[in-house]
């Protein structure tokens, strides 16, 4: 390129006007067009894929103050979710249990374990253990646990296989689009109330679609897509 410029290139404006792109740049032109067309697409895909709640929100696995293992308690020991989260059937929230609930067993089992030091301290002082919230919704969304678990939406639909998690992490993106997926087509997410806390149970294997449709009728489920259903 430099070779093709006249020596007087920097000195006279006339020389500039005589600058010509070398002939080989013609070959680039089609590429420029292709790049021009693909670049916006790439940018859109990047934002849609990279900024999606499935990328940014799902997979959040905060470290908890006490290394509590759901895999041990809910998995190996087969404890029901409601043993600890016992407000879930009456209240909008599934309460994190009081320290007393831990101490039902841990006054005796592993009672000197260093991992339980904070639990014992909480039990003695009455100060709560500051567990870190994993599943946080926008503050304008009013999700009601009781409304869902009492009508056959299993814990596993939103929380995943918590009984296999050493540390709990967010499986679902918890985005509005994700909520609406089920509000628009709930049939596949319904199960008998007796199986709600059974995380290993899969209604798509254990029931036919007709049975699930029947469940929807029995529970009288007509999920609402109005803004005010969740936003108040």
């Amino acid at each position: 390129m430099v070779q093709s410029r006249p020596a007087s290139f920097l000195r006279t404006s006339q020389a500039v006007s005589r600058f010509l792109f070398p002939r080989w740049t013609n070959a680039i032109l089609p590429f420029v067009l292709v790049v021009g067309a693909v670049a916006p697409l790439y940018a859109v895909m990047f934002v849609a894929y990279g900024f999606s709640p499935k990328t940014l929100e799902a997979g959040y696995m905060p470290h908890q103050p006490v290394p509590y293992s759901h895999a041990t308690h809910a998995g190996k020991l087969g404890m029901d979710c409601r043993y600890c989260h016992n407000s879930v059937e009456q209240a909008s929230f599934a309460a994190v249990p009081a320290t007393q609930t831990c101490m039902n067993c841990h006054t005796q089992i592993h009672k000197d374990s260093p991992k339980l030091a904070k639990v014992r301290a909480s039990y003695e002082t009455g100060m709560p253990i500051e567990w870190v919230k994993v599943h946080k919704l926008g503050d304008y969304a009013y999700f009601n646990h009781a409304a869902h678990v009492n009508r056959g939406v299993g814990c596993v639909e939103c929380h995943g296989r918590v009984d296999q998690m050493e540390e709990v992490y967010r499986v679902a993106p918890l985005s509005m689009g994700w909520c609406l997926e089920c509000h628009r087509e709930p049939v596949d997410r319904l199960r008998p109330v007796s199986q709600v806390t059974n995380l290993a149970w899969d209604q798509k294997k254990e029931m036919t679609r007709e049975q699930r449709e029947q469940l929807q009728k029995t529970f009288n489920i007509h999920p609402n897509e109005n803004c005010s259903t969740c936003h108040r």
């Binding site: 900024f51 997979g59 905060p62 089992i109 592993h110 000197d112 503050d139």
Partner: protein
Amino acid sequence: MPRIFIYVGLIALLCLLIPPAVIARVRATPNPNLPIHIIQDMDFQSKFKTQAVNPLFADRRTIRPPVQNAVARGETYVDGLLYEGVTDGAWTQTLPPQVPLTVATLKRGQERFNIYCSVCHGETGNGDGLVNKRAMELVANTNGPVNGTVWVTAKNLVHDETVTVQPVGQIFSSITHGIRNMAGYGSQIPVEDRWAIAAYVKTLQRSQNARPSDVPAGTTLAEAK
């Protein structure tokens, strides 16, 4: 065309693959850091939700514990039969009037028993719950009990005569206040559910000690099934 342009172009193309690869990796791996929240909307409002941290109080609780000696509406606990299982100074043999003895009550009791009690006492009440088994393993460890575990085997509720002779009111009381090494479940289980569980324990004791004479006369085994 100078070669350098071709190389730079190819490298730039390859670089375009990096962001998708990074995103795919982020999607596949759990991350302990707070999610990057690009569009804030009104997701984080200056209000306190259930069980959130409130820095204004010394214990940082948003939900305030009731003031000492405060009595909530409906929680007077003056009904000795309902809240203590005692009538005329003795354990009640029947359920309080607030909890009717129906199949629905027993089903409820079964469900609650399987949630709260079966972890130690087992689903049939014979004391073979998984937590009980695990605790026995920890105690029987060859190098001594793990982390100072002490454990007395969970009671066999259906065969141990010290339990089977108990009136339903006494079983209710044990559930509510705990007994020996068992913690009380009064704060964890609503009072009606505790009665339902007590009634179900009596049902289990009956069913686990069934005799041939319990089969109605003239019924064959095939019919009974």
